[in-house]
């Protein structure tokens, strides 16, 4: 494959992973209005639960059963988390801050809980697609191609849901004014649960992506969360389109920069660009002045 092809492939692959993580963060922010630092550990849980369901040493279910099952369980965990960590503080002026600390605390609990339950030895789950596929002169792992292909489809569906349905609209409204939501007849609790559950499921899917090509460890969610944060800062947190675009742009930026500048300087360069972008457009590259999911 040509140099350009490799760079593009790398950009798409990294971009997909970033986007899958970042979109859940942005979703929780745009709907509930808090920053969810559990997002990384939800990803970890997704991977470990998938392992629990699929690994022959554990339950040994087939992947097509294990995957939705893992997503479902993590969504349920996400629901429980918001009921415990966020819901009680909604309506307080400092909910953003309190949620930061409760989700950080919960993330520590869950991370160490994972360590307790599954132990520290690295694990892995089977890839979504086991083979390699010939692309030009080289073979690319089918798992990675699957990630590149699945991500836009999933994110597209999420986008449609948020923007083309009344429930999606309600999700955007719910954090802005809870009283007003009740007064038009919305079930606020259910909407919160839906938002958080959906975000959790997206994180879990990212975890299953990761678990298919890397070792899993209880700590595996930390770096992707940091990266997702960067993506979200860059793309603006006001909607989900911004972070998605930003994810792919950062993927491309990194691939190009690694090739031409070197890996070592790439993170510093990325942050320098980030700061400059934010000086010019403080609310992110693609942010409109207001919040919305478009």
């Amino acid at each position: 494959m040509t140099v350009l092809g490799q760079i593009l492939l790398s950009a798409l692959f990294q971009g997909s992973l970033y986007a899958m993580m970042a979109v859940g963060l942005a979703l929780v922010w745009t709907t509930i209005g808090v920053f969810n630092f559990c997002h990384g550990v939800l990803m970890t849980l997704g991977a470990y639960l998938a392992w629990q369901f699929v690994d022959p040493e554990a339950l040994g279910l087939p992947m097509f059963v294990a995957l939705p099952l893992a997503l479902l369980v993590v969504a349920a965990i996400g629901f429980a988390l918001q009921a415990l960590l966020i819901r009680p503080f909604i309506g307080r002026g400092d909910v953003v801050l309190v949620a930061v600390i409760t989700t950080l605390a919960a993330s520590s609990i869950l991370k160490n809980g994972t360590l307790l339950v599954w132990g520290p030895r690295p694990k892995s789950i089977p890839p979504l697609a086991p083979d390699t596929i010939a692309l030009g002169a080289s073979n690319v792992s089918a798992h990675q191609l699957a990630i590149i292909a699945i991500t836009p489809v999933v994110l597209g569906l999420v986008w449609l849901f948020l923007n083309r349905t009344r429930v999606g609209l309600a999700l955007r409204a719910v954090a802005q004014n809870e009283d007003a939501c009740q007064l038009v007849g919305m079930n606020v609790t259910a909407l919160y649960a839906l938002a958080f559950g959906l975000a959790a499921a997206l994180a879990a899917l990212a975890g299953i992506f990761f678990g298919g090509f890397k070792f899993m460890s209880p700590d595996m969610g930390t770096e992707p969360l940091t990266k997702a944060l960067v993506v979200v800062i860059f793309g603006g947190i006001a909607n989900i389109t911004g972070p998605i675009l930003a994810a792919y742009i950062i993927g491309l930026f990194e691939a190009v920069s690694i090739y031409y500048v070197g890996f070592y300087w790439t993170p510093a360069l990325l942050f320098a660009v980030l700061i400059v972008v934010l000086m010019v457009r403080p609310e992110g590259l693609f942010a409109r002045s207001s919040r919305g999911l478009a």
Partner: protein, 388 residues
Amino acid sequence: EDTVKIGILAQVTGSSSADAQESIRGAQMAIDEANAAGGIAGHKFELVVGDVKNGDAGDVTSAAERLLGDDDVHFMLTGYASLTNFEIDMMAEAGMPYMLAATSTQTREIIAPNPDKYWCCWSLTPSFDAYGTDVTVLAENLAKAGKIKLKNHKVAIISSDNAYSKTISEAMKVKFKAAGWTITVDEMVPFGEVNDWRTILTKVRQDPPDVVINADYLPNNSATFLKQFQEQPTDSLVFLQYAPSVPEFIKLTGEGSTGVVYDLLGGVINSPKNPRAIDLSEKFKKLYGVDSGTYGIGLYEMVSIYFDALKKSGGDPTNHEAVAKAIGATDKVAAEGRIQFDPKTHLSVQGDDNVPLLFFQIWKGDRVLIQPDKFSTGEFQLPPWMSK
């Protein structure tokens, strides 16, 4: 009959919790054996754990202070706690016999200027110098023996910005250059997870070298690197630092790992020619159901060395000076080789007759010890992606 406490520092809740668990298990195994045999010099032993989390200075200090403050603790040890090993200073100030492993370059830097001040601290790991020099030697020797062909004397060296990898890769560069090699790719990745090596591999492929080295020790990164290398391999010997020694590495990389070469200093010499290692490995596996990597058996041996020293020094654990001195005088065949300590650096002595540098090649799921000949369990074979 009293109980002597042995303090272990480990990253129990940190990102290296797997190594921590293994270390604790190894030390515990040694202590349990001693207690079951009726104790040493009339003493029973108990392991106390200090969690250093991710090895942050504050956390290491707090954990170490806590154990040092316990009057019943008379020996401390770690696989690695901080990687900068600054805690050696605390041990010296407290006069606590202390053994450690891992980043011996840092240990040497602290101890060598004033070895007497650090009378209590000893490193099971020998000098890392051989890590930097011997890969070059291996490649040239393999070529001499006709097992591989060196077409261009080019090497691609990729490393990670951490104390361990960086020390090694810098030394490798010096050695390769001195031996007349050209370095085609010289990349340093920031320390941390790397999901995609394609862009760097693209650079490697543009000018296929004879040897490709990745000194990043994180098993995850290393495995990903190997997989992506395999997507479009070059005709090169692939050498990976440390990571392939982690038991799960083979499972994750599968078939793709066949042919990869790695080396270990202070690693377990799993060879019939070193029965103690085989014996300990089996015991460990039987007890805990998993294989031990470097640290499980490594810490078992540290505790054994302590026990020997305690006996030799007259059996008084509170006499730290005598015990530490006896540790320094150790001469013992352990799972890692024959352990003796260099009085100038307090590191174990390196060499084929002491602690050897072990070269392994993974072949169809097995780790074949190919060097030194003294212990080897098999021969180097041409990796499947290389041409004769």
